[in-house]
Amino acid sequence: MSERQFGDAVLSFDNVSISFGAVAALTGISFDIYEHEIVAIIGPNGAGKTTALNVINGVYQPTDGTITYKGEARTRMRPYQAAAQGIARTFQNVALFKGMNTLDNIMTGRNLKMKSNLFLQGLYWGPAQREEIEHRKAVEKIIDFLEIESVRKTVVGRLPFGLQKRVELGRALAAEPEILLLDEPMAGMNLEEKEDMCRFVLDVNDELGTTIVLIEHDMSVVMDISDRVIVLDYGRKISEGTPEVVRADQNVIDAYLGVTH
């Protein structure tokens, strides 16, 4: 992995803090994420990993510090604005439209890219029709990419969990994101499903050039696929670096195994 080429910092946290009442979820966090890399955020339960993701895609506003995205310091932002700027994500507990089929679920990921209004879309006429066909093509490419042709028309609620996760990844990809945030993409999967998912994550990164930030508890997955690892504990960053560096870091070992103070 060492010879892999990365671009400039696409997203930077500078001294970011967020607290909910008296609870400090993140305290003075700083890190950079570079173009085309795969970064894992790890840490024990309650370390603030999901909060960090939520800050990135605008669900939470930091109480302190600045976030720079593509060279511009970010002001207050709503999640849909983050999405429009090229940040897509998946969730720890799959958040799909369970009653809709795979195709339609992924199609919803294209929503921000659709220009025709609701009325024209409803009529399915003229430019709206042409647009729909374009979007369908893009969605079919994702279906092909993720190898979910066989469940194209299957209602998502009936799919096994591993496949639902893949559909969710598909929906995130449909937005053609620059940064993809994956919140525990392998949770609850068996070994085979995990291996498949790893391959897809690597393929997305490799073939589409998407930057990937993921939270994951399975350390073998983290060590295998990430270029860099950021370790959080009690809302603070305790380590950062390549998997080898992080693995050898005494702070990290203490955080995971516990230490007597």
Partner: protein, 655 residues
């Protein structure tokens, strides 16, 4: 309709030119990509084949070179097959689920210097054997997914090779046509490795003429037109797919449809609605199971309707299909059933348009076979082998039976050897097993007859019936065939019989050892208030004897109806005092009877079956689960089947 004038084209590449001349704009291949069926016309198909052939030649592929092809049914893989043939080369398709070791054997044995692999999975296998097969010059892939960082010197994309081909074609435009003209019908068209359940795989060499003549005959036999659609979903390395998705398509000019992936075959079949279909019994069985499960989950109205009309179908459907007389009322009911049940069901199965479907490979259960026929699907059986370029016998419309496999196919001569083995001779008979003259000599006689290894006979109507593997079949003293496995399977069909061993080879009459099925028999005993202490006691119980006797009597009835197996009716039997067991060496671990060992161990019992004794004492060794051994003593009764004259009497009368 096949045009006899086509016989000028004696190789596939020459035939391809004909296809393009006579119907270049007709569809040749369809593949679902990005959710939409995309079509190649014969002209497109030829374009790909020619570019790829040029590209291969540019890589150094020469006349007589082999091209290994590994992957699912993809249009480009079929095109690669034809491309190699254009250059006088030989495609060697491999089963896509083979492990690297199996591919290595095939590549080494066939000396294939070039490999076409569908995707990363297959390319990885090809790279894995690189050390053992350093002569491999190029690996060409169809699907680029995940292959970006592979060594471009060795691993090339299909497009890249087509591009090289395009450039060569510009430099030397006449080259390929000359190469095609140099080919002749006697050239090898393909080497198909038989899966080899026994020993190493053998490469069956088939010439262009083998494939073309049989395909032309087959297309004529079923009146296959260019408007036909078929679904290519069976492994390309299997001779059936080679004939039905490649050879016959070239001959008849019809369209072959490739499913999106293995998992979508059902869906794709429904969308395409093929009118020509081929599948092993296993596939028909899976479909039926799926239908039955879904019906169980359906509402009660649907379920009632289904079962009622399936009853009508069983009564009338097969007869209607065979143009036999059916009462007006049944005909009417069947019409209603077609509207309500059969039509929608066939649509769900993707079988609405099927004009002719074949099943082969192994025996199909009569219930299964009749189910599809009663729905009005013209499912027929054929008997074939890789060595025959598939066709040995086929069933004519209107002469379809479930127990026989039809009459000799066009230009096929059939004969039954002294030992009941089926032999055939036809224009489709393979040239040889590649680099294996011993096996060739064993299978193919100097005057061109091929031994199938199957035992069977031709019935009064000229239909071939396959009974058993020839090596298991013996002969009774009156000269008739004795097929132990066939009879044993019939016996074991009854729930009370767990295992059966029959004797009759070189004997005057047939007899059997029976093992009761303890679960089924004890359940029956409970219901009939029979008490017993253990296996031995229940096995020797007089009422159990009656139970088993009924089963044997029914088997005998079937055998009696069969003129060739009439002498195999079981006349005497013994119910064994212990279960035949793999631990005692009596069965293999896969529960196959080890005849030789049983004959040694229970010699006294067999002798007793062929004497006038009414009971016999036996002492047998048993191995307990902890590995220790003990001996079991029993006094076994020998039973004569009532109705049949007790054998020892007739023996006495004879002497």
């Amino acid at each position: 309709m096949t045009d006899r004038n086509q016989s000028v084209a004696d190789t596939f590449p020459k035939l391809l030119r004909e296809r393009v001349r006579t119907g270049g704009d007709r569809p040749a291949m369809r593949e679902k990509r990005y959710g939409i069926w995309q079509t190649w016309t014969w002209k497109d198909y030829e374009g790909v084949i020619r570019r790829f052939a040029h590209g291969l030649s540019d890589l150094g592929f020469k006349r007589g070179d082999k091209l290994t092809i590994i992957g699912d049914n993809r249009p480009r893989l079929y095109a690669a097959m034809a491309s190699a043939q254009c250059l006088g080369g030989i495609p060697v398709p491999a089963y896509q689920d083979s492990v690297a070791g199996e591919i290595q054997y095939l590549v080494e044995h066939s000396e294939a210097h070039f490999i076409v692999a569908e995707d990363q999975e297959q390319v990885d296998k090809a790279l894995e054997i690189r050390e053992q097969c350093p002569f491999v010059q190029a690996i060409i892939y169809d699907n680029p997914r995940g292959l970006r960082d592979y060594d471009p010197e060795l691993v090339l994309s299909f497009e890249a090779l087509e591009e090289r081909g395009r450039q060569l074609a510009e430099r030397d435009p006449g080259f390929l046509d000359q190469a095609i003209d140099e080919g002749s019908g006697a050239d090898t068209a393909v080497i198909l490795y038989t899966s080899g359940t026994t020993g190493t795989p053998k490469g069956v060499v088939l010439s262009h003429e083998n494939l073309l003549v049989t395909s032309r005959n087959a297309a004529e036999f079923d009146r296959i037109t260019p408007d036909t659609n078929s679904l290519a979903y069976l492994p390309m390395a299997w001779v059936g797919d080679n004939i039905f998705s490649f050879s016959e398509a070239f001959v008849a000019g019809f369209c072959v449809n490739c499913p999106e992936s293995g998992a979508t075959v059902m869906q794709d079949m429904r969308e395409i609605g093929p009118d020509f279909y081929f599948g092993p019994p296993r596939i028909f069985e899976n479909l039926l199971t799926m239908v039955m499960i879904r019906m169980e989950d359906a509402g009660w109205i649907k379920r009632k309707l289904f079962h009622y009309f399936m009853g009508v179908a069983r009564r009338a459907g097969g007869r209607i299909l065979d143009h036999q007389s059916v009462s007006l009322w049944d005909r009417l009911l069947y019409g209603v059933g077609e509207l309500l049940i059969f039509g929608p069901l066939k649509n769900t199965l993707g079988m609405s348009r099927i004009r002719v479907a074949y099943t082969a490979g192994e025996a199909i259960g009569p219930e299964l076979f009749d189910f599809y026929r009663s729905l009005g699907i013209n499912l027929k059986q054929l008997y074939g082998q890789t060595e025959a370029a598939v066709f040995v016998t086929m069933q004519l419309d209107g002469e379809v039976r479930s127990e026989t496999v039809g009459t000799a196919f066009t230009d096929v001569e059939l004969k039954i050897a002294e030992n009941s083995e089926v032999l055939y001779r036809s224009p489709g008979v393979f040239q040889e097993y590649y680099k294996n003259p011993e096996a060739t000599a064993e299978t193919k006689t100097p005057d061109g007859w091929v031994k199938t290894g199957d035992a069977g006979y031709v019935d009064e109507e000229g239909h071939l019936r396959i009974i058993d593997r020839a090596k298991d079949v013996g002969k009774m003293n009156d000269g008739s065939m004795f097929a132990p496995k066939y009879i044993e399977n019939k016996l074991k069909f009854y729930q009370y019989i767990k295992e059966a061993v029959t004797f009759g080879d070189q004997k005057d009459y047939a007899s059997a050892f029976i093992n009761i099925d303890l679960d089924a028999v004890s359940n029956w005993a409970e219901r009939n208030n029979i008490t017993y202490g253990g296996y031995q006691e229940i096995a020797s119980h007089d009422k159990v004897r009656g139970l088993i006797e009924d089963c044997i009597a029914k088997v005998n009835e079937d055998l009696a109806a069969d003129s060739h197996l009439r002498s195999s009716q079981i006349q005497r039997f013994i119910i064994l005092h212990k279960e035949l067991d793999a631990d005692d060496g009596e069965l293999t671990r896969t529960r196959k009877v080890r005849r030789r060992i049983i004959a040694e161990k229970y010699g006294t019992l067999i002798d007793a079956l062929y004497s006038d004794q009414q009971h016999v004492e036996v002492e047998s060794q048993v191995t307990f689960e902890d590995g220790s051994t003990g001996s079991l003593h029993a006094d076994l009764k020998i039973y004569d089947l009532p109705g049949l004259k007790p054998m020892h009497e007739s023996l006495a009368a004879a002497s």
